[in-house]
Amino acid sequence: MQPVLRTTSVGSFPKPPQLIEARTRFRRGEWSRDQLAAAERQATEAVIRLQEDLGLDILVHGEMERGDMVAYFAENWQGFEQSLPVRSYGNRYYRKPIVVGKVGAARGLTVDAWKAAQALTDKPVKGMLTGPYTICDWSFNAFYPDRRALVRDLAAIVHEEAMALAAAGATYIQIDEPAISTRPEELDLAIEAMTVVTSGLDAHTISHICYGDFETIYPALLDLPVDQLDLEAANQGFQLLELIARSPWPAGKELALGVVDVHSHGLESVASVKQGIYKALETIPVDRLYIDPDCGLKTRTWDEAEAKLRLMMEAVHEVRQELAAR
């Protein structure tokens, strides 16, 4: 029987020091691609083992082969050029891709990494993609006449990638759209694009969204054609749940609730996480509520990421026991 309050993680994990060293050596031309790939496999195994040890239910592969959730695709698809780094917050930078031609891709970029991770565990591992709207929004467009044209071309590519993951056996496919709240007037475009991506897809579909102004796109966001919305909530003291409570939660839709802030070094208390979970349960049926961190964990150290996940699991176990005792 499936446990209630199924647990998962959003996507990225911190890269262990050995992998950071390997990436540096590869960049300098000191290591071959095979040597880098071996380091990535080793790091992926550590990510899988950590999640298994902590008892998470649906795993991620940790994105050890990716530098950034948009740049990774841009580096491997046609039509993009890489920029010098741009700051996103604090001392975090990313290479914001520049669209310089018609975008295109060979199918199956993400399949090998997913297969390798899935082979390490009996638990389901999510196939991880970035959504077309976010890839557009987090790139400079120096080619297409407008954003809609670019998003539509990207949607077709992401759809092919999702189909390839499903064909390989992925039962959970996550298509991240953190930029979806950026321009409320374009929500229809993001929904149209996700409709293309998930069309005919035989998998449990998830979309992760974070750090935006949900007020401006809710409840219209519920029309996003995925089975599960994965939303950041701890970062804003679970205020998001007040917004969610204003409308009935739709039948058939799941919510994955972010319960630990991934951009804070500080560790939450078990009590505060439990409080968030119980608040969510006032609106979301227990069998449709999943628990995870606010966002990918890559900005934390390995120890911080482990501590946050461990605390999350402790809170979930306590709530599960308390619910069972009722």
């Binding site: 741009v86 700051r87 604090g90 001392n91 950026t182 102004d213």
Partner: protein, 332 residues
């Protein structure tokens, strides 16, 4: 026509050279100390100030090289104001720590003045400081204490005035209030905006300007703001191209800034085309009362593209003044 920068600028070099990013990483790893970090801040700021002088800018900022985000120095200078969770800054893939008010605002000061003074002393180009305007501040912060809008507004205006006055006696020549919030807001109580700004601008020892950007409603503010004592009003002409027509038709009572260089796209503007758009505005306003500038701070661009955009401002001016060979060859 004058040319100027608006706010932030990349903290990393396009090639080799001092980098705030690298120095903070080293600092966090225990390599290098506070003096190394301080030296890097000054060197990176100096690099921008040298660029500003080389290009011939008439007005610059210090690039906000030390700032984490637009609210950073204010949060450090005001009691009971805290930096909290990350939020997206409007429609950019840039995130700021939103200010949370947990008690009555009181001014302590020190940070902004210290951060700005060294740059102002060093700069060969007149230096301005861009701070978040009160409406943008209120929209992006969270009040957990006042629960009384009138009292909060009163205190906020006072602490912002005190922050501005902390720059008095430095070589700063202008304080610019950044109001992206007003540029996009659909429903806004215009008399309240005018009233708040009338209070904020009062009793100032420094000239003050306002910058409206990232929204389509920029031109609609020209009339309501007309009677306030601005030194300049800076307008995003990329988000709201209608400002060209308005400024070509009506002379404004203050210097007008036109954000003609897109600070959010790497595509380099065509100077000839910009010059053609600017000419009617220059004729109506007179050239010495027009400033061309990027739409906002350039930190949203990679450093090589940011520098190219700064240099492009000078090219636009050259084209307008007829000193650019490409136009001379056209016989203009």
């Amino acid at each position: 026509m004058k040319i100027a920068l608006q706010g932030s600028y990349p903290k990393i070099p396009a090639g080799s050279g001092p980098s705030v990013r690298t120095q903070i990483q080293r600092f966090d790893r225990g390599l290098g100390g506070p003096r190394d970090l301080e030296r890097t801040y000054r060197e990176v700021t100096g690099r921008l100030l040298n660029l500003a002088a080389e290009v011939g800018l008439d007005l610059t900022t210090d690039g906000q090289i030390r700032w984490n985000d637009a609210f950073d120095p204010i949060v450090r200078d005001v009691d009971n104001l805290y930096s909290e969770g990350l939020l997206r800054l409007y429609d950019n893939n840039f995130y700021f720590r939103h200010p949370v008010i947990r008690g009555r605002l009181a001014f302590q000061g020190g940070t902004l003045r210290y951060w700005t003074k060294a740059a102002a002393d060093e700069s060969r180009v007149p230096l301005k400081v861009a701070l978040p305007g009160p409406f943008t501040f209120m929209a992006l912060s969270e009040d957990q204490s006042y629960h009384d809008a009138e009292r909060l507004w009163r205190d906020l205006v006072e602490v912002l005035q005190m922050e501005r006055e902390s720059l008095a006696g430095s070589k700063v020549v202008e304080v610019q209030w950044d109001e992206p919030q007003l540029a996009q807001k659909r429903e806004v109580d215009i008399p309240s905006v005018v009233e708040v700004y009338r209070s904020l601008l009062a009793e100032a020892s420094l000239p003050q300007s306002i910058a409206l950007y990232w929204g389509p409603r920029v031109h609609s503010w020209l009339e309501p703001l007309a009677n306030l004592p601005w030194s300049a009003v800076y307008l995003d002409a990329v988000a709201d191209p209608e400002v060209y027509a308005v400024l070509a038709a009506e002379r404004m009572p203050w210097t007008v800034g036109l954000g003609v260089i897109d600070a959010r796209n790497v595509r380099l503007e065509d100077p000839e085309s910009l010059a053609r758009q600017l000419e009617p505005v220059l004729r109506r306003q007179s050239a010495e009362r027009v400033v061309a500038h990027p739409t906002s701070g350039l930190e949203l661009l990679p450093p090589d593209r940011a520098e190219a955009k700064v240099r492009q401002l000078a090219v636009v001016r050259e084209v307008l003044e007829g000193s650019n060979p490409s136009r001379q060859s056209e016989g203009r």
